[in-house]
Symmetry: C2
Subunit: 127 residues, 2 copies
């Protein structure tokens, strides 16, 4: 339903987790889905689900960055995983028609967008 | 890669958002992915991505519960949406082989599991 326009062109460009970065990217949504974006601009933060199409889907174990111990992949946030749906909480900087400008997205340029949801601390966070 | 075993059999049984419910469900992971679960039990909370296979994928506008105004679907958490990947933060109560017992999941019985990630407030929450 859309894709990412990002300064991150290659895997080595992207940060470990986007939430800690200041990089601004764009999400371009297919015209068909434009009615779905109405009022998104009233939200300060969004949850972006993207499909990491360059991921290794055979990985079942991974070592988190700065760690030494390997874990099952579902105990990590490894971008390489069986179903590489990446989850990012982003700051919504603005909307221009079918384009959303966001900060804190670690997806590579061209990454397909799966879904966009409004971030809600009541639902998405544990107090 | 797995599915949900839940007391919620029909759409009308399920709560609006699982985070606010106490219901215990099970996630059954296909044997092939069992190595991926190693150490998941050390986490207190998980993010579960499931595929709401009974959703209406044509919906582009929705009215949130207890509200009167319709918004674009991407400005809501409607389970009916173009790509119905549901996102739930759950309490992990325990693991028994390829079965995870969780609380706070609003998925219907039989819902396919897309991915499991460890919940991390640094990544998943805005301070």
């Amino acid at each position: 339903m859309g894709y990412v326009r990002s300064p991150y062109k290659e895997k080595q460009d992207a940060p470990q987790q986007g939430r800690m970065s200041d990089t601004v990217s764009e999400i371009v949504i297919d015209e068909h889905y434009l009615p779905g974006l109405e009022d998104v601009e009233t939200r300060s933060h969004l949850i972006v689900l993207s499909w990491f199409d360059r991921a290794d889907r055979t990985l079942l174990r991974a070592t988190p960055p700065h760690r030494k111990i390997e874990h099952g992949v579902f105990a990590t946030r490894s971008p390489d995983r069986p179903n590489p749906v990446a989850l990012s909480v982003v700051d919504l900087l603005g909307r221009d028609g079918n384009m959303l400008r966001v900060r804190g997205l670690d997806a590579l340029d061209g990454t397909p967008i799966v879904d966009i949801k409004p971030y809600s601390p009541d639902i998405d966070c544990v107090p």
